[in-house]
Assembly symmetry: C2
Homo-oligomer: 247 residues x 2
Amino acid sequence: MVDQLLVNQNRTMIDKFSEVKVESPSDMIIRQIRSLISSGELKPGDKLPPERRLAEKFGVGRSQVRDAIKKLEFYGILKTHPQSGSVVSGIGIVALEGLITDVLQIEEHDFRSLVETRILLEKQTASLAAQRRTDDDIVHLTNALRAYEDKTKRGEPAVEEDLLFHIKIAEVGKNNVLKSLMMIITPDIVVNFNKYKVCNDSNVNKSLKEHQAILDHIVNQDPVKAAMAMELHLRDVLEFSKSMKSE
Amino acid sequence: MVDQLLVNQNRTMIDKFSEVKVESPSDMIIRQIRSLISSGELKPGDKLPPERRLAEKFGVGRSQVRDAIKKLEFYGILKTHPQSGSVVSGIGIVALEGLITDVLQIEEHDFRSLVETRILLEKQTASLAAQRRTDDDIVHLTNALRAYEDKTKRGEPAVEEDLLFHIKIAEVGKNNVLKSLMMIITPDIVVNFNKYKVCNDSNVNKSLKEHQAILDHIVNQDPVKAAMAMELHLRDVLEFSKSMKSE
DNA sequence: AACCAATAATTGGTCGACCAAATATACCAA
DNA sequence: TTGGTATATTTGGTCGACCAATTATTGGTT
């Protein structure tokens, strides 16, 4: 009650500090765990204190600690064994420092980096697909391209089918990690696609031909040409995005 | 009570089905949400039913639903607005299908895929680093290499310093996404490093020279040679790992 | 009828309590 | 002393209840 009054009285002063409260609670916990590690209290390889103790030490509920641990586990920094405890991953303390700070800023993907990386990944998937494709794979790829073609011919937006074709290529490449990484950056790309309206009508025809060319090279098992066709395709997208961005 | 008795009576029969229960509860929820989407009950862009309703519908607690939603949010498939609801991301329903099934299997990183992808990423980071390095960057890289050298000269294991050097190169490349992706796969690599004892004494000398070569090419701003040196370096690791694995 | 304020219902976030599995401890027998 | 078993404790997983913010509803005023 009294606290509430004080808050209202100091509203203008509170506003000046509000900017530091943008970081979410779980991020704060992550930062605290990081400090535990860098201060030497937590060496890689040994067990994390139990969630209850951490919650008490940080003065928060156990839920938030669990959230933080889950996030860290997601990025491979921790490994949680049920009914036993969480263990700091084998990676060294020095590298950990850099890792964790990066996790907190992992969303800051600027557009240039995004497209640049996508080109890299997709060139490789195209190359691998050309090397490792089976006859079954060709059927799947053809179907995916057909679906894309049908929708564009009807004048409908086909961003989904476009991406699906690319994902199928990644599957044919038969490299789990590569595909997973593509999966991770794909949502960001879609967001930016919609933001900059990359896929308008004037581009779909060219895009369709480029897709067909990529597929042809994969069918012919020509890794180099497949990669080049993919790069050409994506390079167009990049250039177009640049022009949109400068508007 | 009665159910319990039935379960005990049918223990042998239950055992036959136990194999399907290996998937974690939250994965089951993810699968269910996916079926909700593919059945058309959930179209991209509109709000997810409230957590309580989902929990009731799936016959589980709300915690598990929250876990599933958080996992999906990690991958950008959902976006949660506090006190308002979760929204299906703009990405299309078709692509979602592929995405979600992949999320469930995203941990199956086999070793070949891992090293293959690492080579790809690191070649690019080396190339970019050679293109974009500043004078300050060189100082940092040199220090990192020095730290690695010192520790190896003393005969101590220096896996951390090794990786730190690579991470520094990624930073010099100035591509957020690329660095983030390297961060993601690095823990897996370390685990496998320790498993196969890649960095033994006979290799450290060679490794050190290769690191120096990479650094030189970055200093000379020669992207092609930097990438080649990096590939050479990592290719050795791959070959060595292969031989260890076949033991 | 239109608009706005006050109130009621809904919703995700948080917390504490309970559960079952895993581990540590204590105790007894050989 | 040693080995194993039974018990006690610890631990992450799960659940239901409560909280604050948001949204929907309602009622009244203009």
